[in-house]
């Protein structure tokens, strides 16, 4: 790219029309046009306003594991559409569309690698896949990730992002809350750390299960985290919600998370935590 392009690209309102769409990212919060490369180098955080954009499993793995190197784990196969659910569309059609759009099988993926030189299994929920909603596939993937951590006697780190339960799986989606809670208990019984990173948004049944059962809870700045949806609360109590309600900083204030951590510091903070809590480190000490 010539210096002229560079200058032009740094001036959003001029460059927009002249450059391919995919070269630019418009910040979802402040509306700034940011050069995609710059935005990605900044870990998908807006360099102007610090807005932490939602990111999927692959990008998250690349950001958290040492040198961006990791081994993706196979996703478990579960019975699809157990209720033969249909609303305005068939559930199977919604799944097909989500798979085509995200090139993911479902809303949760695991990978193994090193963080700060120590082994860890990381599970990442994908908001892009049907709002990250938890059905049997998400529950099963969580269990598989926890089991891998048990086998390798290493920490399990989970990055949450979900609008709630996968309603199309009815009661079975509710049961995933209990299922994942069992997996967390097994990690705890084995003396392995379970670390949670709450990303935007984490609500409903996911928050009310594994997301709030971590040994340590980190949250990304500005992330929406809560149990009930804001519209439901407004309708129930018939008053306006306070500024910053259910945001990461609000949860910190109310004692629900240990720290709000900027994305650029996440891998480092995780490495510190793992060094302190990793079982091998304890045994050696």
């Amino acid at each position: 790219m010539s210096w002229l392009d560079r200058v032009r690209n740094s001036i959003p309102f001029i460059a927009k029309r002249e450059t391919a769409e995919n070269l630019w990212h418009k910040c979802g919060k402040c509306g700034s046009m940011v050069f995609v490369k710059e935005w990605e180098d900044n870990l998908n955080v807006c360099p102007r306003c610090d807005h932490h954009d939602r990111i999927g499993p692959r990008r998250r793995f690349a950001q958290l594991f040492d040198s961006g190197r990791y081994q993706l784990m196979a996703e478990p196969i579960v019975a699809e559409d157990p209720l033969r659910f249909r609303d305005t569309k068939r559930y199977t059609d919604r799944l097909k569309a989500a798979r085509a759009a995200t090139r993911e099988r479902d809303a949760f993926q695991n990978a193994r690698g090193c963080i700060g030189g120590r082994e860890a299994v990381v599970g990442v929920q994908s908001f892009a896949f049907m709002g990250g909603s938890m059905g049997a596939a998400v529950g099963a993937a969580f269990v598989v990730g926890a089991r891998e951590a048990l086998q390798h006697r290493c920490p399990y780190v989970v990055v949450t992002a979900a609008g709630g339960a996968r309603m199309q799986e009815g009661i079975l989606s509710l049961m995933q809350m209990a299922r994942t809670a069992v997996a967390v208990s097994q990690l705890k019984d084995a003396g392995l750390p379970f670390l949670v990173i709450l990303s935007d948004p984490t609500t409903g049944g996911v928050t009310a299960s594994y997301a709030m059962l971590g040994d340590v809870h980190l949250a990304e700045p500005g992330a929406l985290i809560g149990f009930a949806g804001q519209r439901v609360i407004e309708q129930t109590i018939r008053e306006k919600l306070p500024e910053g309600f259910q945001r990461a900083e609000y949860l910190l204030e109310h004692g629900m998370v240990d720290a709000v951590v900027h994305r650029k510091d996440l891998a480092g903070t995780l490495a510190q935590l793992i060094a302190y809590l990793s079982p091998r480190e304890r045994e050696a000490a």
């Binding site: 157990p82 609303d87 009661i171 069992v182 049944g205 009310a208 129930t236 109310h254």
Partner: protein
């Protein structure tokens, strides 16, 4: 006075006719005993036929019926020597979840359940059975107490869901529900849960992750209310009947999915028409389940409970 549900209208009309005839008979004009008997038999048949084929939305109405027996009725009829226990030792006393030590048919247990209340004053006092974090934290406290002293746990599940409110969020509603589920799955005592009315989402599961989950015949249990599901997926709460059907939330559906273990039949025309019979049937079912569970070790009970929920959804 009997509250009739929409789909019970024909039954209500017959009952009205019977009442009118009785009045006429009382005036001594004519003898109409035969006619009254005929109409009453017809009303019974109609009720039986109606209740035999209730759809999921109709069952939701029955499960929410204001005259349905609540936690207090079960305590009064089933428990002797009940010692209520209150408070989460942290913030307050939430009367949406009640609990205490109880003796059920000679067996000492910990009894915990949602209480919706049955008139305006008590509904407000019990917050319509929608617990806040302190309610779940009290439940955790009592569950751990039961586990420590080897008392079997019995829960009565009947809630629209955990309360959605600003203060509930501030005090960590999600964490409280999560911790309660985790505690259910860690107890080393027999644990039987009975969904007696509405099993509303995480707020219900928080005290229902049991070794054996029982459900009254017309109770419902779901991840979200039919109205909530309809307003999200169909974008209008008017489609609640469709959502109720699609979510498969009836006792028969849930037994088929392996989510519940036993259905307790209700008296003719639903639990609200005969409290005594309903409560007795629930008491007998709990007793039978506890008899079987009490032969197992604490470790077995916990491991089997965990294994069951670990399999949910395949």
């Amino acid at each position: 006075m009997q509250t009739y549900l929409d789909f019970e209208k024909p039954v209500a009309q017959l009952a009205e006719r019977v009442a009118e005839l009785r009045e006429t008979a009382a005036e001594g004009a004519v003898n109409i005993d035969a006619e009254i008997g005929r109409l009453e038999a017809k009303a019974d048949r109609l009720l039986r036929d109606t209740y035999r084929q209730l759809n999921a939305w109709q069952k939701t109405q029955v499960a929410r019926h204001p005259n349905r027996p609540h936690f207090k009725h079960y305590v009064d009829a089933l428990a002797t020597d009940f010692v209520p226990l209150a408070g989460d030792r942290n913030f307050g006393e939430d009367r949406a979840i009640l609990g205490g030590l109880a003796t059920l048919n000679g067996r000492r247990v910990m009894l915990i359940g949602h209480e919706k209340g049955d008139d305006t004053a008590s509904r407000l006092r019990h917050n319509f059975g929608m617990a806040k974090p302190e309610g779940y934290r009290k439940a955790v406290r009592l569950m751990e107490l039961a586990s420590r002293f080897g008392l079997p746990l019995v829960t009565i599940v009947d809630t629209a869901g955990a309360f959605p409110g600003i203060q509930a969020e501030e005090r960590g509603q999600a964490e409280a529900v999560a911790r309660s589920i985790e505690t259910c799955l860690s107890l080393r005592v027999p644990f039987v849960a009975v969904v007696t009315g509405e099993g509303g989402s995480g707020g219900a599961l928080a005290i229902a992750a049991a070794n054996r989950v029982l459900m009254l015949e017309h109770a419902v249990y779901s991840v979200i209310t039919p109205e909530g599901c309809a307003s999200i997926l169909w974008r209008t709460a008017d489609r609640a009947p469709d959502a109720a059907d699609a979510m498969r939330m009836t006792a028969t559906d849930l037994e088929g999915l392996g989510v519940i273990d036993r259905i307790v039949p209700e008296p003719l025309g639903g639990a609200h028409r005969d409290h005594a019979a309903t409560v007795r049937a629930v008491g007998e079912a709990i007793g039978a389940e506890l008899d079987a569970l009490c032969t197992k070790s604490g470790r077995e009970l916990r491991d089997e409970r965990r294994a069951k929920f670990l399999r949910m959804g395949g």
